[in-house]
Symmetry: C2
Subunit: 416 residues, 2 copies
């Protein structure tokens, strides 16, 4: 039996126990985890130091090293995250629907845990306690596969959390970490349909593609965002500039940032220069189609067709000119990753058309795309942003990582 | 460009149109389809005759030939099915939730079409109009891949339906059939993630396994059912006998029929002989563990461990003896395909324990497992029974083949 098979069997055993833990107990365990992470901060920071030393050796960029680094204040932040999850309503047991059939069967549709949730992610050791807290509160066991870059940090964090589970009389295998950093093991993990109910990849486009291509477990695809701001002919110019500036530059490396500007031809002469001026504060390069380039001249650079499909995650913005809201919608539906799209307009009719016809998880009117986020939506937590249509779409909080079942009560009904 | 790529591009173009068809129009088109199928019955029956001739040539069993066969009355049944779907409420546009955030964003969660739904199925040409009617009413385009056994029937049916779409001014590519019966084409179809939003296999365990293993499209797994009836120590003996008899024999070849009997040791001496006697009417073989065999003697046959995991779809029933409801739950959770499970008991506490702790789409108390069905649940239609936990579980009607999106309205909100 391979090590992964053992992990799988442990997880299946643990999931039935995880599903039955009462809300109060789950909350007190999460608070205890927060406490113990702070108490054990020194050990965690020491383990993190090993990862950082390796990172330096491997020539990791400063920005990436910063994402990897843990200190006392970051561990306090992690602990606070656990306490917040403890304070959220328990999604499990919610009655979603009840109905009685003519034969007297009483049917209840009830929210239940997913079972075993697998999560594959890169760098950033804070994902480890974060993912555990959400899956645990949602009544599931989890198997985590973090990046090799932060394996020592992850092992230290998971040890603290598993010790709390054991100390509280729970099965520690409710949380398991795959410690083997071999890529072949990750691929094997993706094939563990027999044990894992859903697999959530969190990371770059390459990781997500690999999981989608290789997994036999149902996957929730997360995160790539080629998000558009469309400035309609009836847009308020100041609002348009503010929204583009916020969506493009407020945080450059995230999936809900804007990558492409779509502008109505009748306002391009007026609004494009204002946008250029504002974006200049952050040295944003504007890659323009011919008509937009006609306005900006050598302030812009020419866009290739490829540009309209790119998620830059950088200070670059593609610019496309259209002659109608219909053309804007068609362009966006063609190039979008179906994450977040917004229209800026004072015209109710155009806004409604855009809200209805754009095919994306989150479609906005007069709002920055940056709000596609579990916390901003008030979910109190987030395990990722789904860009697929199956199961969950957009920000995923606790409810989005649950399933349901039917409970049917009768008095001897048989089918005729 | 391969033929499938063209189909994919057609489907994507058609899905945006399908999503915008008003309810009244969808209903009138479905009624028109019903009418035209009846009008064109002769052509459909002639095409079906070609499939039947081939079936005879290929030595298909009489039972399978019967499933394949279409006549006037069966086509009238199909037409009636389309009319029923027309009469169901339109799931699209339903507001599932609304909330306002502290910054004034007004968020609506709204039910939207899935987009492009792929369905792979075997034999039975009635699945073709059935699948079309459900995906169409749910606002999606579909690509159907039926069995090679009924390709001529499918082509004839699809021609009628596409002609109606065109005649009604709609894009006929809302419904497309893959006419190439080469297996390699089916495998290529499973990889069309770029064009297809969800893939639903309907058929035997082998087909479903092939789709799960090969698809890069999100899959909804359907149909395999190793369903249990557990007779508790506090069961009403008459009810127990009736439910076992109904669940096992009322229809032998379906996924919600009972394959395994679990019985409490304290009632086995009394109830097992009654069950044997009743099942004898249908010559059901009872494959028993040692203790059950101790009761039935040579009326039963010995079960191997393998028997407890089998979906017989035949007049065979495995029998397992347990000493508690806890042991019954553990046995069922181990061997179940998580489809439908039932407890027979007059003891409320045991019933609630079973309802809560058994991990299946449908868990019953004092009801036959045979009711796991979209029509029996009152959904008015069914595209299959999901046995996975992602997206939909149990009977899938119109709502279960939709997705959702968020519409967010504001007045210039940006993120700080």
């Amino acid at each position: 039996m391979s090590n992964l098979t053992l992990l799988g069997e442990n997880a299946v055993r643990a999931k039935y126990k995880a599903a039955m833990i009462p809300t109060d107990k789950k909350n007190s365990v999460l608070n205890k985890c927060a406490e113990e992470l702070i108490k054990n901060a020194d050990a965690i920071i020491a383990a993190n130091k090993l990862d950082l030393d390796n990172a330096v050796k491997n020539g990791m960029s400063d920005a990436m090293q910063d994402r990897l680094m843990l200190n006392t204040s970051r561990i306090e932040g992690i602990a606070e995250g656990l306490r917040q999850v403890a304070s959220l309503p328990d999604p499990i047991g919610e009655v979603l629907d009840t109905f009685v059939r003519p034969n007297g069967m009483h049917i209840e549709k009830i929210r239940v845990p997913m079972g075993v949730i697998g999560i594959i992610y890169e760098s950033r050791p804070n994902v480890t306690p974060d993912a555990f807290s959400l899956t645990f509160k949602a009544g599931s066991a989890c198997i985590l596969k973090g990046g090799s870059d932060c394996i020592e940090s992850n092992k230290a964090i998971v040890k603290v959390l598993r010790d709390v589970l054991s100390g509280e009389g729970l099965d520690p295998d409710i949380l398991q970490l795959i410690e083997d950093t071999d890529r072949a093991v990750t691929t094997e993990f993706m094939k563990m349909k027999e044990y894992v109910d859903v697999l959530i990849p969190r990371g770059g486009a390459g990781l997500i593609r690999a999981v989608v291509e290789n997994s036999n477990i149902p996957v929730i695809e997360t995160g790539t965002g080629n998000c558009h701001v469309y400035i309609d002919k009836d847009a308020d110019p100041d609002m348009a500039v503010n929204i583009v500036f916020n969506a493009k530059t407020q945080r450059i490396s995230v999936c809900n940032s804007c990558e492409s500007l779509v502008i109505h031809s009748s306002v391009k002469d007026k609004i494009l220069p204002l946008i250029y001026e504002k974006l200049s504060e952050k040295n944003v390069e504007m890659r323009c189609d011919e008509r937009a380039l006609g306005v900006l001249g050598d302030k812009g650079s020419p866009a290739s067709n490829e540009d309209f499909g790119r998620e830059y995650l950088d200070y670059i913005l593609s610019v496309k000119t259209v002659d109608s809201v219909e053309e804007a919608i068609a362009h966006i539906n063609k190039y979008s990753t179906h994450h977040s799209e917004t229209i800026v307009t004072e015209n109710k009719e155009s806004a409604e058309k855009f809200l209805n016809e754009v095919d994306a998880a989150c479609v906005y009117h007069n709002v920055s795309t940056r709000f596609t986020d579990g916390f901003e939506f008030g979910f109190g937590a987030e395990i990722g942003i789904s860009t697929q249509k199956l199961h969950a779409r957009g920000p995923m909080g606790l409810k989005e990582i649950t399933s349901y079942k039917y409970r049917i009560r009768g008095n001897g009904q048989t089918r005729g």
